[in-house]
Symmetry: C2
Subunit: 359 residues, 2 copies
């Protein structure tokens, strides 16, 4: 009837709150084999930041490369097998990084207690048992993965999330100091993920008062960060971007993403485009569907001198475009959100292929 | 360092979502003695609404009168003793009503598993064990009690909450249809509780980006409900008020209430004023402290033709005023929020007495 959505159990927000990590996980260290797995963005390998991670001798730290592709089912299965075979079930999994690392931490936590390949569980409520304790620490803000009930994975057949209430983090630490070091490009692209999914949330049939209140405030914060007079990189705007990401994610508790995300999933699945970048590449061409949003997005592009590629489809074969369109068409919840219950009257494979040909 | 705040575990928002109650609690009915306690505002006794409550033969329904006074420690202790002696530990407690009923349900849930009088636990983190499962269904919106970690109780010595992470509801059902029947007077006073605590949250030293984002959006929703062109009683505004109450409450996860709430606690403790009404009575006189907020509040008062009493203090003895001031002075967190760390330079008993004399 209405979604009964699961919140993150506990949230800390504040500059320097990363220092609270050790204290926060101390009571959990008695579970299972009493060690923690830290899944950390490979970007931090060898950087000073690693010395601030409160590792105990029994803990495991895994640096994951998320630059070249989105998290895959194979990657999750391998991580799970490695962890279980080497040290058994851990007390918990801690993800430190951007949206991909958040998704990896959530997925590994679930797959540690659910047998077989993660491909078996891509979809809604297919997971059978709660995972181990999992904690997320975003170092890039915008995807909303810190609060979502989905761990998006690319499998051999589909790009689709492990989605259930157990996916949601037990704890999130939101320390805006951690996002200060992100490159301008990723700061922009990832921030735009929030902006774009709020626009999709607001312009869809599933939007309600709850979603709207969250999306409206997240959009207002995005404007402060990327468009208004005091926009740009600053401590104040890092605070705002972190809250925008959370609120944008919470807006999707009731509403849904739409056409842009559907196209984006095809770009990621078939051409290995990173999610946030793929959104930006697609969104610029959707001004007939999201008129005001795309207009404002282009102002932000211009303000921050972002170069997005155009005429990409000239180099794509019809086969590639068809494959991407097939990925997008297999996401009916996004089409439903954008075009209503009778979305099949508007959307078919040719319609989606035509959208890809705009790119 | 920073608050690590506990969220409501699960939230449903939507018109008609009350009908999901039976399904939601079904999995919990295996706990303890397999029955539920429903604590319901006495206002509903004999009304058709009661037939919609999914009672099983083993369940207990308790109608509580919250018109004449705020919830007391004695009331909670008596309820707890009655429940335990008659049927033993229940599967859970469900509160259906306004802020007072929310507080009663939260407090009873905790006191069912914590020995001795609830007066022992008035304060921060004094509760020793988690309570039983508890679920809140607001039928009046504005206090934010549906998401707060406090169950405010008036005891023989103090008006102070049982405050800890276990106080927070396991589940909240936010069905805007349920608040349609509230009297205009309570609709206004209770809605103003959100407005006033957001103004206090915004104008205090503890306000941060997280609090601000929530308070700003809650205030915007309050303006839609009580001030703007489409303000007044409507289904659309019931939806908005319900979200405003939630977001106003979440704003206080980091920030705090201030001078108005301190005065209000004195009025409730000594003169049995209801909380939301007491806030309104006090707030109108605080234009030097909350200038813009009080100005806008007076516009809302005028728009909805609300009559608030004035010159009350003419009938109060110095003893009464002193007693109220002593209650307010024992709430240092509110004074800290309003005037900063060195609040004692500004605030003493005489200062607070002078504020009461304005009323």
């Amino acid at each position: 009837m209405h979604k009964n959505f699961k919140n993150i159990d506990k949230v800390v927000f504040g500059r320097g709150s990363f220092a609270m990590l050790d204290e926060i996980i101390a009571p959990i260290r008695k579970e299972n084999n009493k060690y923690f797995v830290f899944v950390v963005d490979n970007y931090f390998k060898g950087k000073d930041f690693v010395s601030r991670i409160p590792l105990k001798p029994e803990d495991v730290i895994l640096f994951e490369d998320v630059d070249t592709h989105e998290p895959t089912t194979e990657q999750i299965d391998n991580l799970r097998d490695k962890i279980l075979s080497e040290k058994g079930l851990p007390s918990g999994v801690i993800g430190i990084g951007g949206g991909s690392i958040m998704d990896i931490a959530k997925a590994v936590s679930l797959m540690l207690t659910n047998e077989g390949s993660s491909t078996l569980y891509q979809g809604l409520n297919l997971i059978k048992k709660p995972g181990v304790y999992h904690l997320g620490i975003p170092t890039i803000s915008g995807t909303g993965a810190e609060c979502s009930s989905t761990a998006v994975l690319t499998g051999p057949i589909k790009k689709l999330g492990l989605k259930c209430e157990w996916t949601v983090f037990n704890q999130v630490i939101l320390d805006p100091e951690l996002i200060a070091s992100v490159s301008d490009e990723w700061w922009f692209n990832t921030g735009m993920d929030t902006y774009i999914h709020c626009i999709e949330s607001e312009n869809g049939t599933l939007n309600n008062t709850f979603s709207h209140a969250y999306a409206e405030q997240a959009l207002s914060l995005c404007r402060d960060v990327f468009l208004n007079e005091r926009s740009g990189r600053s401590a104040e705007n890092d605070d705002k971007l972190m809250v925008a990401s959370l609120m944008g994610g919470l807006s999707l508790s009731y509403s849904e993403v739409g056409v842009c995300h559907a196209l984006s999933y095809g770009l990621s699945k078939i051409l290995d485009y990173r999610h946030c970048y793929a959104n930006c590449v697609a969104f610029q061409h959707l001004d007939d569907i999201y008129t005001k949003g795309v207009k404002e997005f282009k102002q932000m592009i211009e303000k921050h001198k972002i170069q997005l590629p155009k005429n990409l489809s000239e180099d794509w074969s019809d086969e590639t475009i068809t494959k991407m369109a097939e990925v997008a068409y297999k996401l009916p919840h996004m089409c439903h959100q954008a075009f209503g219950e009778n979305w099949k009257n508007t959307v078919n494979l040719e319609y989606i292929k035509a959208l890809y040909k705009r790119l």
